[in-house]
């Protein structure tokens, strides 16, 4: 599904504070599987996730999404790939303040056009599915952590993406909610979606839902299981 070949991501290249966040990673992320990136803080998980999700371009190396080479795509096409292929769940959820939960879920679909009525129905359906349907008119800043996360997941799914990318999705949740999140992940995978999660939460990588755990350190892959 997604193939990385000798990918590097260097910040402040050529300057004294140059930092190699991702250092020659080659990885094949299979479709319809749950892959977890783990490793200590600063090991490059978020940086790698950003590359996988086409949010940033690698300093060197190649990335294929499906059979498309995305490293050399111009920004406009990258945005297109981002919104059609990926759904993102961020650590801080990053809902837009002041907008309602429903509007937040609809946001990724705006650039695609399409009927508004259909979009509202789809967004409301997703909120219902994740048990926050009754909060659809609530402003994002008034949601609890668990609600905000479920709204964020609904938003990630509104364009029906093949791949879900989540960065530390359980960092703000208690054990029960975290376990609940992994059940959602299982459901998404069973629908045939690919899920990539960066996390150092044991609840995540010990979950039976996870197909593969990739361990990182200093920007490199130091272990894969199975």
């Amino acid at each position: 599904m997604i193939r990385l070949q000798d990918v590097r991501r260097v910040f402040h290249q050529g300057r004294p504070d140059e930092l190699v966040a991702v250092d020659g990673v080659s990885l094949h992320i299979e479709g319809a599987k749950v892959t977890v990136l783990r490793g200590p803080s600063g090991s490059g998980k978020t940086s790698l996730l950003a590359l996988v999700g086409c949010m940033a371009r690698p300093t060197s190396g190649r990335i294929h999404v499906g059979d498309r080479e995305v490293t050399s795509l111009p920004e406009h096409f990258l945005a297109e790939v981002r919104r059609r292929t990926f759904g993102f769940v961020f650590q801080q959820f990053h809902l837009v303040r002041g907008l309602t939960a429903l509007e937040n879920v609809m946001l990724p679909a705006y650039p695609l056009g399409g009927s508004r009525k259909a979009l509202v129905i789809r967004a409301q359906g997703l909120l219902d599915r994740f048990g926050v349907g009754s909060r659809s008119r609530a402003r994002a800043d008034w949601l609890s952590g668990g609600e905000a996360q479920r709204v964020a997941i609904a938003r990630a799914l509104v364009n029906d993406p093949q791949v879900i990318v989540a960065d530390e999705p359980t960092a703000h949740l208690d054990s029960k909610l975290s376990a609940g999140f992994m059940d959602l992940v299982a459901a998404l995978r069973d629908e045939g979606r690919t899920v990539v999660i960066a996390s150092h939460d044991p609840i995540v990588h010990d979950s039976t839902v996870v197909d593969r755990v990739v361990t990182m350190r200093d920007g490199r892959i130091v272990g894969e299981e199975p």
Binding site: H76, R83, V96
Partner: protein
Amino acid sequence: MKRLHIPTWLERQRYLLDFTLSSLGRRKGKNLALTALYAMVVFGLASVLMYTQALRGEAMRILEGAPDVVVQRMVAGRHDLIPADRVERLSRIRGVQEARGRLWGYYYDASAKANLTFLVPEKFWGKAGEVVIGEGVARTRLAAPGEPFPVLASDGSVVILKVRETVPSPSELVSTDLVLLSEPDFRRLFGVPPDLYTDIALTVPNEKEVPMVAAKIRGQMPDSRPITRAEIARTYEAILDWRSGLVVLVLAAALLSFGIVAWDKASGLSADERREIGILKAIGWDTSEVLAVKAWEGAVISLSAFLVGLLLAYVHVFVTSAPLLTPVLKGWSTLYPSFRLTPTLNPFLVSTLFLLTVVPYTVATVVPAWRAATTDPDAVMRS
């Protein structure tokens, strides 16, 4: 190539506009204050431009009725009464079809605190002892037809005339302070002997002969000053242009400083706005869509400010007779105490104002967002 699909494009713009409106709603206080400030600047500029335009229109209407040449006598550099025998001499100059002695003068009406223009028309249709007054006079003096019209004569006596009727006129600027009366009444009131006139009006049918006629008059009567209609027109223009130029300059400075404030506000995108742009990009928005939202934002604010400002200016100038501008712009305000301008809306003026206000503001909103919108969206993952 990016293919343009019109229905999708329209739907997308609608979504983006919806998003813009709800964004604006979220920062209601700030945006309302900005729009109000902006509307005030537009109001000022539009008021001056509309007002001078309308005054110019009035002036041109006055000129249409003005004689081709007016001859005045000058004594020690001042306008003096002109001997009646010159009417005959002037009418004999080649090119002059007709010469007519005119009687007119100003009268300060202490009770109404206004200057009135007393004028003997070519053919006064009233009887001796009667006056016909302009609407403005009727307003300030509260005089209606049939009522007495007391005037303080030059010898100190009070002469009571009677209002015959009031006259409307195409241009209020002309008629408003006008008092028409018969020749004997005029001479009696102002103590003008029968062999003198205020000035002499000439009819010169061929416009091309006017300069020649004027030159001849200067030659034959060295103490007289011929004033042609073209000269009057130029004077009006000069006065109006100079005064409005001054005010426009001041307002342009205001606009500029507003522009700087706006630029500052827009370029110093708040952390919140920056974060929002990051989120939008991360969830799949393209730079162009983020910029489109910013453009809509600028357009909505500046367009509403433009329309509100324009509407207020229209009301200010044509409904309330520009009370905020009269002290500066109407040099003749003592002469013409109050008048209502004929409403006009010049499309050129409106489009100039539009280009001067809406376009720069929208650009000022979009350009600073550019930088925020072109950064890699992964930055948002680390905040």
